[in-house]
Symmetry: C2
Subunit: 823 residues, 2 copies
């Protein structure tokens, strides 16, 4: 555009600022648009990629005399955006480039600091920049996201606070306009009038500041400011209609919100006095919001990796864990450490030469010992009051919180899980401790059904000895969940972790021991599943088997446990969370931007090694081509690497066996009927160091082909094209599984239909189908996906207890005491 | 006593009434004391037995010039007592006997009618009687029992109403003293003063009425009346100390109740004016109580067989059913009636020559057809809104209510169940309909866990096709319970009833069809369990098996259902209520009166053919001998007979196979270690007509002997003597079962201990261990007694549904709608 714009006739009021001539063309840039993998957790990688695309833009801007403005987006991106801005503009090539600027959002509680930081930096750099001062356009989003994540809300909660901040920062800008050239971007006449009045007072010339408005919002006012001799810049979106519509919708929502100046100025009920009042004068009527502490269960917040200190803590933890690799971990039976003849060698799947630890491998005799220990411990433990059991759960959660980064580091290194997912694993483990503790307390309240003369209590008792057989893919969370569910309800436990994640399991055992739970209540029994699993599930002294893992093993356990054994005390109960072959349907009117992101996350997060992972995407014909194109483009951009690298989106799979099995499966796909590969990313030299396999996408997959029917547990996605929504639902439901499913659609009719018809334990509409949170998304499937009720949900603990009804006749000689709860 | 009393010196004030000399000795008699089987349901039998013991008493009273007063007890016994009184005293021998009387209780809402009835009767008889007018001593009891049973409360709820009635009836008595000689029994001075004043007004001479008081209650007042020339009679208990203590305790409780005149007269806060006020003047301050309609689930009341019209209805139903025996009942598959080659002949176990009906017996093909029909019906039925499903349940309940006596009659004749238990069976079936309907509605409310930007609903979906395999011992209730649980939650059902109760099951099918449930939702598949059971439990299209029956079959089903079959849709869920070997512990300080009654009911109700039945009684050494003595005496008095006879306490067992098995077991008991028979009642000639076996009691039973370990399902009780409560608990817990258990003890320490330590799904303190009511006593055991949660309890329906979590992202472009339920 610059050639055209620069050819316009001169207009000094618009073309010059205090310091002289300035670029006419002013481009606003969102840095996230330059990098599909823009991610604060990977600040270095993001910087590298963004900077590489940014430098040519800056060069061209300079060359063509254009101004480049770095826009601000959500608070998540704030520090990363600023860091990229500052690092690039400190590079010798750009250090003297003044025709650039950045946004400060006055609605942020950090805005004063943000501006101070920019001022210090600009002084140090020696070249001024422009600061566009705005209130901020993501207020709702920031509120929603912060509450959803359990993070502090970063924005001011009262409109007047943002207005007040805007005026405060206007003053800072005007006073420091040598380094920070002021651009006041607002449609609030009070905010602007305040700026102009202050400028007058400080004797700033009219060109000393710029007023910015949006195209179509306040034309008359813009003319007014122009007539008063100010430079007014009107921003307008530029590009295709449809994305531009979305932008305009946002603007509309923002400016018609109840609190907006524009909207209020059209409302009779608000007086001009009130509208133009000094912002802080609203403080009495609308004091700053103080949120009450949240009642009930609260999810443990994820770590905010946009904060540098959090990233540093994670790096330190990784270094510390690396210093402690290779240790030996014994069994723990009845509180005593037991070595074994055999050991399991646990390796880092990102670098298989690296040994994480050597873990004892239990024999049959030791398995029997562990069961006996749990049996002995049961009676006394079952009598420990629920309050104490809950306290132990609290201690476990507290130690996990304290060792949060260390635990995540063990997970990263032992199971090849990327940073954020490892962090979520620890958070989920903490959630299970606190949620099940609350639930156990809830269930410990007897349900009364009293009548005069008879008191009835419905109570729960523990079942007995619980064998917990857990998988490696959520090495801490699932093991903790099943174990804590058992112990808070008064059962005793034998933990049999997956071989591949026995070191993380040993860390849990360590934490359990640290918190002082009586010996024998939790026993640690790593070993070879095929070998000791059947001993555990067929033992008359085991009352309950809690299993999460493959369908084949789960069904085998279910059958084995249903056998009646000599001396058996209880009919063994089995809880089994098994596999899935989860589908996401892309409807004709899906928001493809969101759908692509959701499918990528669901299918390739942790390399698809989640029972909830999407392994089939079912796309309606009319959007098939654009969706597939965008999907493959998006997947291509995923970075493959070792899990410890924060930029890694695709780490290794769990071990070489798994990789080989997956590659073998891929090799055997029949292109005639089974599916055609459209993307097969090559991990390159990483293959030599770890169990890597790149993302694969297949199209033309027959809904009944193995690729569309078998759970693969790897980064392999089958794309299935269908003609109608009916077909889509039929295909989605057409497997033996019913674990998770998702739909992207903007049609209320479609959403209503799939709510009723899609068969899945966890159904997700317009969001990814992985990442279930405790309590919010109780997790588990039906059909051949699961036996028993949903983990992290209100019915889960019922499976660990036995209901008992106690009925006492209180009538004596025709009289009965009056008690409460009479119904 | 008469000789001594009659030798006392004359005292005309005491010895004469209006009509001359009267007996000095005045004996008050409770008729229930004359017959251990005194029961309104068996009015004829009770009359026969009581009259036989009553006549010699009356003769002797006449001979020795003593007065006999028929006391009234609880309202249950009122009509029976009156009937016996009137029938005996109308016999020619006693028709002219005037030295007798009966009580009228003024606290009864029926008191006016009661007195009117006596007046008419006395006129007709031609000889006067005395009426002792009291307020009544069972006020608390009547309230407690009526509320417990769901019957109308028979007594006035306000004290003033009883007082008012007393005065009203005093007038009736004084006016009709030619036939009903008045005896005013009260300690309330106002009531008595009113009587005396009225007598004066009516010019009744002082001897025209008698005042009665209790020994030790109001000595000064009694003297006062005596001084005023009235005849005052003081009642006193006579006999052993301990039972007398109980009587005195009752008197104390009664007279110290907040509302008692005596207690109020000692309280400063109540003025003399208020105390002596006309009773009806209290009406304004204390209007008659009107109970609000009960909220929530209400158990269907049992029939009140003390009412003659209820007994008549039952007799009529029995006659009607007898007219309709021998019909043929086809299968019902997909709404269509299907005949079969084979049929089951259902016989009356009380009279095995009597054929109840001929029921079709399903083949394997028909079983497959039924499953296919249920499968086809599932999809549409699962979408029927819960409100409609609940309406169907209401229609079923309504028809059962309408056909209540007919259904009970079928049960009596087909399964040999005595009247009251058959009636309870129907009531429980109705309860299951209404309770599960409410529960289904409760579960249909999504549990929300919403956040701004995300709406989460936790909902339940039906499982699919449910095979309901039910026993004969609660032929209507259990079949209805399992079936209704399945259908109200949206599942479809194949009902496979026990062979022995297929006609009752056919009646349920009839009712289900009448209510218009869509074809295929409930299919009726009677047949031979060994033959078609495995087809049902191993079929890939069956998703759920709900079974109640023997342990052996239950465990077999559990194992069979856990097999994975080709084409299987779901991991089959099994709910199995199996057997018990239930114990009652008799503690050293047990109230033996209550313990004996409770054990007799629990052990011999329906001839011990309940999974909840007591088959072991564990007695502490110190009470062993007296308990055993009283127990055997009590059992000896139980009447053996055909179930249709309302006096029958012990009917037949279910069939000859069962009887033969039991007799064989008894024959094989090893007297050395197994147990020694101390009671073996012989059913006599009944054996030739039906499957009768008399109650058996064994002592010295080794806790590990078969008699103490195997479930027998018959009228056989093992008595085990133990030294300590520890031993008692160990023995009680020492079987593979954990279904019901009970304790009789007055020690709070013992009760607390057994609450924690006795292992039973249903634990009962100081009451019988059978007769669990829906909601009040959710029923089911653990250990090897049951798989799954308690029938009629809050967790039961969860077994018939699958939890699904639906999560919708509602954020669009950073904005989210505000919805309710945000947490």
């Amino acid at each position: 555009m610059s050639a055209e714009v620069n050819a316009w006739p001169d207009d000094p009021q618009l073309d010059c600022d205090e310091h002289g001539h300035m670029p006419r063309l002013n481009v606003s840039l969102k840095l996230s648009a330059l990098d599909s993998q823009f991610a604060p957790v990977d600040t270095e990688g993001s910087f590298r990629r963004v900077a590489a695309r940014l430098r040519p833009i800056l060069r061209m801007a300079r060359e063509r005399h254009a101004f480049v403005h770095f826009d601000m987006e959500q608070n998540d991106y704030r520090l990363l955006t600023r860091e990229i801005f500052q690092r690039v503009l400190m590079e010798p090539e750009f250090r003297d480039f003044a025709d650039c600027g950045i946004v400060v959002q006055a609605y942020l509680q950090s805005a004063d600091d943000d501006l101070r930081n920019l001022l210090d930096w600009a002084r140090n750099r020696g070249t001024p920049i422009t600061v566009r001062l705005v209130k901020g356009a993501y207020w709702d989003f920031e509120n929603i996201v912060a509450r959803y994540r359990g993070w502090p809300v970063p924005v001011y909660r009262r409109k007047w606070q943002s207005d007040d901040c805007f005026e405060r920062l206007t003053a800072v800008l005007l006073q420091n306009r040598q380094w920070l050239r002021p651009a006041l971007a607002s449609h609030n006449l009070r905010s602007l009038a305040h700026g102009l009045a202050l400028a007058e007072q400080l004797q700033v010339p009219p060109q000393g500041l710029e007023i910015q408005m949006l195209y179509g919002m306040c034309d008359q006012q813009a003319q007014l400011f122009r007539k008063r001799g100010h430079r007014v810049r009107i921003y307008t979106p530029f590009g295709e209609l449809i994305p531009g519509m979305a932008y305009l919708v946002r603007r509309l929502l923002e400016n018609t919100s109840n609190e907006s100046f524009l909207r209020q100025s059209f409302t009779d009920s608000i007086s001009v006095e009130s509208l133009l009042m000094k912002p802080s004068s609203h403080a009495a009527a609308e004091p700053p919001v103080v949120d009450p502490p949240q009642a009930g269960f609260v999810n443990e917040p994820l770590s905010d990796f946009s904060r540098p200190e959090v990233r540093a803590a994670m790096q330190e933890a990784l270094a510390w864990v690396r210093d402690h690799l290779g240790a030996t971990y014994p069994l723990v039976i009845d509180g005593k450490l037991c070595d074994t003849r055999a050991t399991l060698i646990s390796r880092n799947p990102s670098k298989t030469s690296e040994i994480i630890g050597k873990v004892s491998s239990a024999s049959h005799d030791q398995t029997a010992d562990a069961i006996a220990a749990a049996r002995r411990a049961f009676e006394p433990w079952s009598r420990v009051p629920v309050e104490s059991r809950v306290e132990y759960a609290g201690l476990i959660a507290a130690e996990m919180r304290e060792r949060r980064f260390e635990l995540a580091a063990w997970i990263i290194l032992e199971t090849g899980k990327p940073w954020q997912e490892a962090d979520a694993d620890v958070a989920e483990a903490i959630d299970f401790c606190t949620y099940y503790a609350r639930e156990a307390q809830r269930l410990s309240e007897p349900r009364r059904c009293d009548f005069p003369g008879e008191e009835n209590s419905y109570v729960y008792r523990p079942r007995g000895v619980c064998a917990v057989i857990s998988p490696w893919n959520f090495p801490l969370a699932i093991l903790t969940g099943m174990t804590l569910a058992a112990i808070v309800t008064g059962n005793t436990v034998i933990m049999k972790p997956a071989e591949q994640s026995s070191v993380v399991a040993a860390k849990l055992m360590e934490i359990v021991r640290n918190c002082g739970i009586p010996a024998g209540v939790v026993n640690f029994l790593p070993g070879i599943g095929e070998d000791i699993g059947p001993v555990l599930t067929r033992h008359p002294d085991v009352d309950l088997v809690a299993f999460t893992g493959s369908q084949a093993v789960g069904l085998e356990i279910n059958h084995a446990a249903a056998e009646t054994l000599a001396g058996q005390r209880n009919v063994r109960r089995v809880i089994a969370e098994m596999g899935g072959k989860n589908a996401i349907i892309i409807d004709e009117d899906a928001d493809l931007d969101e759908a692509v992101v959701g499918v990528v996350r669901s299918a390739f997060g942790y390399s698809g090694q989640k029972c909830s992972a999407c392994s089939r995407v079912i796309v309606l014909e009319s959007v098939y081509e654009p969706f597939l194109q965008r999907l493959t483009d998006a997947v291509k951009s995923l970075q493959i690497g070792p899990a410890e690298d924060p930029g890694t989106r695709i780490g290794p799979v769990i071990d070489n066996d798994s990789r080989d099995r997956l590659l073998e499966f891929i090799r055997k796909v029949d292109p005639e009927h089974g599916g055609q590969v459209v993307l097969a990313m090559d991990p390159g030299p990483l293959s030599r160091q770890g169990s890597f396999i790149g993302p694969h996408i297949f199209t033309n997959v027959d809904p009944v082909a193995p690729l569309a029917q078998q759970e693969l547990f790897g980064p392999i996605l089958a794309v299935i094209r269908v003609r109608t929504l009916d077909d889509a639902i039929t295909v989605a439901n057409g497997t033996r599984y019913a674990l998770t499913a998702g739909v992207y659609s903007r049609s209320p009719v479609t959403l209503k239909r799939v709510r009723a018809e899609l068969q899945a334990g966890n159904l997700y509409l317009n969001r990814e189908i992985t990442g279930a949170l405790v309590q919010r998304h109780p997790f588990g499937g039906y059909r051949m996906s699961g036996i028993g009720s949903k983990a992290g949900g209100p019915d889960y603990l019922l499976q660990f207890v036995i209901p008992v009804n106690i009925s006492e006749n209180t009538m004596r000689r025709g009289f009965a005491p009056v008690t409460e709860n009479h119904s």
